[in-house]
Symmetry: C2
Subunit: 221 residues, 2 copies
DNA sequence: GATATATCTTTACTCCACTAAAAAAATTAA
DNA sequence: TTAATTTTTTTAGTGGAGTAAAGATATATC
């Protein structure tokens, strides 16, 4: 049909024609799925619709992704690299104030999420990741979470080095704990259609402010 | 078939026969659903199976609960009163140590959950509550969450009054924030089949310890 | 006791996710 | 160019959630 042509300086070693066809199909399916899910929602989109738009048969989609939710999770896993890169940019030079740093971290995740999929589709995604946490694509999603938690810890390490957090603050665990908190607020955010990003932002600042205000009165001996 | 019999000292003023029949059917359906879900899991249980066990037709179940997940959420909402009562018992006299109080709060929720349904069914429940957060039964579930958060705040208020938390600790927000954290850890707990309660208990203690250790270095003016 | 009314069951149906296997097409290897 | 191999499509199905409406039955009302 069209000649393959050598690609002298292509970044990849360039695999066989079959491999290229496959990754093209993958790309088309993912793209079609994202379009249709965003346009009609998860339930109202049928595999048949996606197949038609991607110009493959529905059985091919099942061969590639197993189930409809498998396709959804694969789709989200694709956006990983973009997000972790954005967070890395923050990590390079985080705001000095811990409240600001945490709020920026959370806002970056929220904005990225909404630019990629609608809230209703995100609800399906979170739900699927909870149910299929042990499946292949479920694990890919969990991996992103762990990476993000690690990055938040790194931000706190940096702030502590700069002298904005007391030396006895356990930044490693704090990063993991606050990431969990962020996650809970994110779920809350996508669970309510008319909950504005700014409102969640305020909640999150209140959260961390309350946490920084908390301290124990040592027991008398 | 079998006579209904008067119930001379029934606790309720006892409405008409039709009303009683309805609430009996509700009870039977909920009971049957819980049994079947626990035994075979959510997906492998069909509405037909539940209907048979509850001795009603499947259409009746749809009339009562709308959807299969609606039935699941209704089922869970039923266990509400029991849980809030148990937490109230803690509230009456919480441990003096904040770490212990928080750990006990979380453990009570976990234990209650597992005594009621299996982890796989809980995964479906959480997933359903995220997807159908705006439906009738989804809201009932959300209401429980708000009540629990309030109760945790109350525990902290009590500890502060007893002088175990510094007066400038914002206990209201702290209760809400730590409840969100607890919720995230609970989801993690039910998401992984062989994650032991004791392990999550340790995580949770680490969380709150790190939070209490965290404090900001004031910026120089 | 007869009639009106509410409620449940039966029946017949649609829709869609998902599967198995045969048939068709294209790529690779010779 | 032909044969072997891989992969996709076609076809034909299953199963279960959910629905609409007619018919059956029990409760409430008079």
């Amino acid at each position: 049909m069209w000649h393959t042509g050598d690609q002298p300086n292509g970044p990849e070693p360039m695999s066989s024609l079959r491999e290229r066809q496959k990754s093209n199909r993958r790309r088309n399916i993912i793209q079609a799925a994202r379009d249709q899910f965003s346009m009609y929602g998860f339930d109202a989109t049928t595999i048949e619709m996606i197949a038609e738009r991607a110009e493959v048969s529905s059985v091919t989609i099942y061969n590639y992704y197993g189930t409809k939710t498998g396709l959804l999770l694969a789709l989200v896993a694709e956006s990983d690299t973009l997000l972790t890169e954005r967070i890395d940019a923050i990590l390079a030079d985080p705001p000095d104030d811990i409240v600001e740093a945490f709020a920026l971290f959370a806002a970056t995740i929220r904005d990225h999420a909404l630019s990629f999929l609608t809230k209703p589709v995100w609800r399906q995604t979170i739900a699927a990741s909870i149910i299929e946490g042990n499946s292949h694509f479920g694990r890919a999603y969990a991996r992103l979470d762990r990476e993000l938690a690690r990055q938040l810890s790194q931000i706190f390490v940096k702030l502590q080095r700069r002298g904005h957090l007391t030396p006895d603050t356990n930044v490693d665990v704090l990063g993991e704990s606050l990431f969990q908190l962020q996650n809970a607020r994110f779920i809350q955010f996508i669970s309510i259609d008319d909950l504005k990003s700014e409102t969640v932002d305020r909640y999150m600042r209140e959260d961390i402010a309350a946490i920084l205000s908390a301290s124990r009165v040592p027991a008398k001996t």
